[in-house]
Symmetry: C2
Subunit: 334 residues, 2 copies
């Protein structure tokens, strides 16, 4: 059986309250002698506070939930790392939950985490149907990466909401424009589409329009954010529109698939087809040819989210919306 405040109190000849005060530190008025003896005894006995009891009493778990599509995607793993590092600094731990972008799983997870009394949730939402699919926000929640429209936020109920994101629309506008600038006249778009109104696609489409290029649905393919979507996507596009000369990819995983399949088909990159990704996962720079991509500040996305959440939990500072910048990484595929 673990050692409790009571055990220490008995040996020190004081009450549990005194022990509690001393051990918790902070401001109290306990004599130096008592303090010292309590600290010593606690050390000797190897006292470790019982979190469940503290939790029940204080309604604080010092845990934050991380709801994400899939930790095996390096982009989300980087966010996780930022989260965990920042959380640790403040004595918080991270409860991870993979949703696979499954809306019902997401709901279940959200409820589950709130009953576990996480103090806050960092949520990379699937955004199916363009709206958050949880009945109500019960816990302070920061949405990362995928933005929520303000009307969704209003609708969501009681607990406060924050957002950390990048301007994906602009990023995709820029990268599409970059391809066009390099001479592409038939740039394709391969991505996932979890919401009706996809910002990445919007950026692509805007750039096309700006440069007087007519959008061609044979050049657009939507699947998931994974390598297979890249492979299948470019294969499909190659069959429908063999004159494709550029590919704007929804993320780097897709881009890697595109590179792979293009290689199999003997199409040279960037000679025949130019390719650009999104995220700048760790491996982007080790692809051959090295992947040109738009870097998301993934680690910072996580760290900022955790910092915002914890500062809200501890000091009541309000949650906020914050946009982080992307950075173009020109390498060899354009």
């Amino acid at each position: 059986m673990a050692v409790t405040l009571k055990d220490i109190a008995e040996r020190a000849g004081v009450s549990t309250v005194t022990v509690s005060k001393v051990l918790r530190g902070g401001k109290h008025h306990i004599s130096a002698a008592t303090q010292e003896s309590i600290l010593r005894i606690a050390g000797e006995l190897g006292y470790v506070p019982n979190h469940a009891a503290q939790m029940l009493k204080t309604r604080r778990s010092h845990q934050i939930g991380y709801l994400l599509p899939d930790i095996a995607n390096p982009f989300f793993a980087d966010i996780a790392r930022g989260l965990d590092d920042e959380a640790k600094k403040h004595g918080y731990n991270v409860l991870m939950y993979n949703t696979d972008n499954d809306p019902s799983g997401e709901q279940e997870a959200y409820l589950g985490l709130s009953s576990r009394m996480v103090d806050g949730i960092v949520f990379v939402h699937s955004l199916v149907n363009d709206e958050i699919n949880i009945p109500s926000i019960r816990v302070p929640t920061v949405f990362v990466d995928r933005t929520i429209r303000s009307m969704d936020v209003g609708k969501s109920g009681n607990a406060p909401i924050g957002q950390i994101f990048v301007d994906a629309c602009k990023a995709f506008f820029d990268s599409t424009e970059l391809l066009i600038g390099r001479g592409c006249v038939r740039p394709a778009f391969i991505s996932a589409q979890y919401r009706q109104h996809d910002l990445r696609m919007e950026g692509y489409l805007n750039a096309l329009e700006t440069h007087g290029i007519t959008a061609d649905e044979r050049l657009i393919y939507c699947g998931k954010y994974d390598v297979d979507t890249g492979i299948n996507g470019i294969r499909h596009i190659l069959s429908m529109a063999p004159d494709v000369d550029g590919v704007v990819c929804g993320d780097d995983l897709i881009a890697i698939g595109v590179l792979e399949e293009l290689d199999r088909n003997g199409r040279k990159v960037p000679g025949d087809v130019r390719v650009i990704g999104f995220d700048d996962i760790y491996f982007a720079k080790y692809c051959r040819p090295k992947l040109t991509t738009v870097a998301q500040p993934s680690y910072m996305l996580g760290a900022e989210a955790a910092a915002m959440l914890i500062s809200h939990i501890e000091n009541g500072s309000p949650l906020y919306r914050k946009q982080l910048d992307c950075a173009l990484k020109i390498r060899e595929t354009i």
Copy 2:
């Protein structure tokens, strides 16, 4: 304020005990009518059990801790995915903690997690100094990937210990032998070395000896399990022993670094130098040239660990040692 058993009890005109029994399901002797009304009311009120209270009472958190070096390493992310999937099946959640292989951080984390009352811990241990650096095992713990010698296990104290691992020594023996079979006479070894007695290096050395090749310390470089170690390692080796004609890499990240630096130096792979990795992370097959490597069953490592742990927690089945098989993935770098 959240709805409690008491709220339901009042409306249903029964005691909290009755409500608790019904809601928890399982075997009890409550009349169908009472049951039905309790269930209905609980549903209406949106009852969610308070985990902290349950925890305090039952000493079960339904959480398992995952202590790992770095979630940004895809190998550990894959394990995490296996863990989480298996844990979810049984109603458990995963608390992640990145240690960066820092022994003192590991200790702190281990203690922290046990005070959070995790029901078990899955531990990818740093194994510095060839022994586990935690004072005593307080919680059922399964060591994954890095094996613990049985003497370490005995020493560790009270709570039971399990292990899921692969035969790294054999794997490295085989892959070194493979390089030799392809004609390498000066195969190098680049890896991390966290313990004095490193199994990966042992396998490499054994193979050398078996084939009558004298080990040459200029061909051995140890750093960390990351890309930079591969880059620095091969750069260093190239300067010391330019006749190197093969590299056995401690993991795929290192191999990727080696490939990168070899390319910069104009050395052809596999023409001039043959390279083999370890893990088979997702990106191994998308390197150029495609990385030949030994696949670890990373997802299964995680899933098995969770299954073992949970079965022990729930049914008291003993923890055990289990070895999983690796599989050679011959691609283009040898």
